[in-house]
Symmetry: D2
Subunit: 385 residues, 4 copies
């Protein structure tokens, strides 16, 4: 089996998410990192590439140079897709440059800096025959796949209520933006966009709720807050949701819930039953029933759906974690790239990496949440774009 | 020590909450049930009284008769307080009749059928020298007392965010109102008032949030729903909250979260730390810290506050439950009655039973949540009454 | 319904278990405390009786006086059963005195000071027509009843493995016997008998294992330890178990597991499935299956067995605790006494309070565990007595 | 940074543990799989190698051929260490062949087929200057490292009690050995050795207990069982333990605890406090204290020891799992190989992969548990070898 060749933009020394992406890509030994533009700082990019074992000539000092140089390499050597792990404001230009140079793109979220950018990007994607993927890693967990499957099979009946929480505490500290580069750019409107909390984590929560329920948010009412004085962007938000089909819900996200780590959880209730899943305890999925005992569905059990089974690497009782979930998106994406580039395997992966549709909905969600929060009008329609 | 003498209105055969109140009153052996008007049905009231071991002449067929007859008994025999455990629409007339006959009152919640009733009742209470208590039993849990204590001592710094959930599933079934007398009256506007979900459980959640945080709700935005077709009252609601001092929050309550039992939980986050408590696992209180391990505070531990210790009956590791929490309110109320009536003990109980202040705020909350839900205006002020 | 009349021996000021017994007896309002010999100290006994609202003439300064005086009261006034809540060395003489005076007996465990005493007591019981009950309160939990029911119905197939743990930490402190009266007598061979850990808690664990599994211990191998220097009795023990039918197990009990509160838990595994229950989280019972999701059976659910339902007082999600479990034994015992004394109700209670059979097995277990621990021989037969 | 070059013996199509080892080796991108003898079946070995992207000439049909051929490759190309992932009976001959050919060895456990083999192997290792590692992956979890660190720092005082459980249910099914190749060899004395349960999982439990406590087992008393008829090897065992310094404990391991997945857990109690860790919930470590709230130590928290921090890849709240723990052993081993072979980095890794010392103790434990179980003598000394 041929390895799919990846180039990376961003993720140099001191970055957090770049190393996560590289481990996720490496785990299944189906993807090979062949080049990178890890930093706009020449020395930092070179050092990063060297520590990753890349030859000097495949380490670039700008993404533009990387696109050009790789395009000129023999087809069997050049990178096949670009992994984008920069701060938000660079997602769009890098993705566009990659697509225009003929490379598939796998991007960290949020897809772009603004809704208008993502709509522009969608047009570009529609015109080229390239694959675009977006890393919402939480849907890569086997139990999230199982939850989606069971909802879609009608196990819980018509869905009525969806509660999604995503609470962190790391930005509760009012000096964190001076201490941490990771915090600083997320709170800087010139790099993060119009939102910190909704853009960084609320968008994951919205994606998770829509993915598992199979429903689309149609209206929302939001109250975003910057709790720490001096911040320009929200560090907390509560959003009332209405979904198509009449379901309702609440999305609660925060970066100032002191003491919380990465507490993403989802509860979905239908006419016949409910489910609960928590990212910090990801290998269990609790099913709730009105007339029989709750059930604890577990990663790697024999009775799982095909999509959940496909997302699993270890036997039952050997916990899988965030990197494995992330790797599942890389695997789903790489499988599609392999089919296209090598003609190996088939494109009918058991589940898909989120793509441009989720990218557009994510940016629309962020912008609508901010708009709604600033408004005295209660409900705001989530328009289709 | 003299036993405090209690009469009961409501709670005859087939009722649920009456038996709970009687067990709560009996547990500590400081209260004696001496009379009752258990049902407006003569036979049912008599049978109920007999099964409770009451002599026939202390079992009444109406609350009015009970007030009159007990008033005429010698002071040392007659009941000293009335426990009201009827459906909501009778809370007010029974309480008023009792107060006017000189009896202290301990009432199930919500205090009355409407805000205007409770305001009238407050005037009556202010004019007489009688004790009024309201059973929000959840604040009787030791860990809730401990949470309140630690917040009040500043352990978590200024409070920023309060999340309170109270989800049940028992009304998800669309035939429950025909099968269960308990469900029927709660969904009947002539007996329950203007709300089912907010009136039955939302009001507990609001009380818990205010009690633990020490903050008052100042504004809210609500989305209440009747998910089951044909219902006149809400069976679900999500409410965005704003508190004095700048804290914000979400109150989520539902009777249609299929598979949930009685899932009341509270999370409070301040600048320095947070806390989490769940009523279904009531003997643990999780404290969350940004820079050291979370702590699991436990009922009956040596290090607890006086109020939490006072709410505890068994050694650590011997779980206490709902009846013990409920009994704590009876004990707090009976202690005050004892001081007043017997001159025994002191009125400085380590914690208090909720009273008319909480009664007024509860009714105001219910009415404002309903009003706000029906409005297109986003925020509604929670006026002081 | 007539109330069953109880006298109490022990449980005066400063005692722990006496107050527990009184609350357990009071909860259901079917038992009335009518007299007591709370302490051998005259003043302490009187003060205890007064604080409980007993008239002076029903408060005795010795159990012998109580038996005599109560026997001389009119039948309709005198106590009907004696609750024994003294340290261990008095269980036997008090029980024998009560039985010989014609009173039923409900005794705290262990039944007596020694195996020979309990065998003597059994002979006495066999000759009189009186009811003897023993408070192993943990079997009063609804989920323990449910576990027993499901095992007995064959839900798990033939049982192979039984693991029971009962770990406490309160005696880890090497000065506790000087600080706490409760600790002092439990570690004093003249009051506790030949064992502290096995006699105080190991015996509960053995009872629980046999009750739920329906199997009898046939052989054991023990390693008991006095970890704290200077102690004459064991404060810890691990016991390998063999049961009839070929099942095996481990009983682990300790009073020096620092930081543990009252961590009694049971795991039972059969050919088809397993179960797990923990006393500190008593309202859930986890069922484990090889080929489908684990199930969480819950107190007060609709689908429970009759015996579990009969052990439940509150609706699902309103936690029940240790006092309710304890009250279930009082209720089971009082129901039998009522039938015998008043001819009310029937003797076919949905479950029974443990009696003389469990009393004998308990004492035999304690003595065999101590003997086996002192022996170099590996296996010791658990003889029938 | 140069990648360390790995060859693999075993782990072809249909194997379980081979794929685990490859993912663990790949995750950190510091190890490169360069060759393998994946199966004694020529075709299966070739197909396995091809699917892993290896060139044909580096895929061998026997481990002997691999040793010879690789030795003849230029030093900068040949493998540097051999990963052994065969059934137990081949561990020794493959390891010896590798060592004799000058290759470092990382072996799955148990180290060899018998104690005498591992003693022979130790002599060989002592004579050559090669690195030997043994994969007990559970000590690679950050919270296990943290537990070990805190015990070693005296946080819990002198250790008194150690309870280790390792319960699985997959062999409860009496036809599993006919259905699963994995089960078949583990229950076959010619491939597994003298024990199934103790050899496959009990040895992990013993290693974990000794690693965290820093104590050595000095005596044991065992009761092993073959619960499923027809089996020659134990599928369950309970072992009483005594440690140096006076601590005692219980090791409970089973493959017939129906419904259990991979339930390895450890509890350690000292004079001042205790700890509890469960492999199925690996990112939390509960510390238990007599006089203050229990603490929940968490993977990736800021306050962790250096060794725990070094074992962590993702931020707090992003769960790590079994593969990450396993990868930590690969990383620890590869770091030492890199220093030796490339002179890069230093040999002072923050923690070490288990080696020949643990290999010898593991084999001694397995043999002693079997011997002790067959004996009527209670205690058996765990001799130093």
């Amino acid at each position: 089996m041929s390895k799919v060749r990846m180039g990376m933009v961003g993720g140099g020394e001191g970055a957090f998410i770049g190393a996560i992406h590289r481990m996720a890509a490496a785990l299944d030994q189906e993807i090979e990192l062949v080049c990178g533009a890890f930093s706009s700082n020449t020395e930092r990019s070179r050092r990063s590439g060297a520590s990753l074992g890349l030859p000097d000539h495949r380490v670039y000092t700008s993404y533009e140079l990387m696109m050009t140089a790789e395009s000129e390499l023999p087809k069997e050597d050049r990178m096949q897709f670009v992994s984008i792990v920069t701060p938000n404001h660079l997602h769009f230009p890098v993705a566009v440059a990659a697509l225009k140079s003929g490379f598939h793109v796998l991007s960290d979220k949020p897809a772009t800096f603004s809704l208008s950018e993502v709509l522009t990007m969608r047009k570009i994607i529609e015109k080229c025959d390239l694959i675009y993927g977006l890393t919402h890693p939480y849907i890569g967990y086997p139990m999230v796949q199982e939850a989606q499957h069971r909802v879609s099979m009608g196990a819980f009946g018509r869905i009525r209520k969806i509660l999604v929480d995503y609470n962190q505490g790391w930005l509760a500290n009012d000096s964190i933006e001076r201490e941490s580069k990771q915090a600083a750019w997320r709170l800087d409107p010139s790099k993060a966009g119009i939102s910190s909390c909704m853009g960084d984590i609320g968008v994951h929560a919205a994606n998770l709720a829509e993915f598992v329920s199979g429903l689309r948010i149609t209206e929302l009412c939001a109250d975003l807050t910057s709790f720490v004085p001096g911040r320009e962007l929200d560090d907390d938000g509560s959003v009332l949701l209405r979904f198509d089909g009449g379901a309702k819900g609440v999305l609660q996200a925060s970066q100032i819930c002191t003491g919380e780590e990465n507490a993403l959880s989802l509860r979905v209730y239908g006419e016949k039953g409910g489910l609960e899943w928590s990212q910090q305890n990801p290998n269990s999925l609790r099913l709730k029933w009105p007339d029989r005992p709750d059930e604890i569905v577990r990663t790697a059990a024999d009775y799982l759906s095909d999509s959940a089974a496909a997302a699993t690497r270890t036997p039952a009782g050997h916990p899988e974690g965030y990197l494995e979930a992330f790797a599942n998106l890389y695997l789903a994406f790489a499988t599609r790239v392999r089919v296209r580039e090598f003609g190996e395997g088939t494109d009918t992966a058991l589940f898909n990496c989120p793509g441009i549709t989720e990218a557009v909905r994510g940016m629309a969600f962020i912008e609508l949440a901010v708009t709604a929060s600033q408004s005295d009008i209660k409900w705001h329609r989530f328009e289709s774009h």
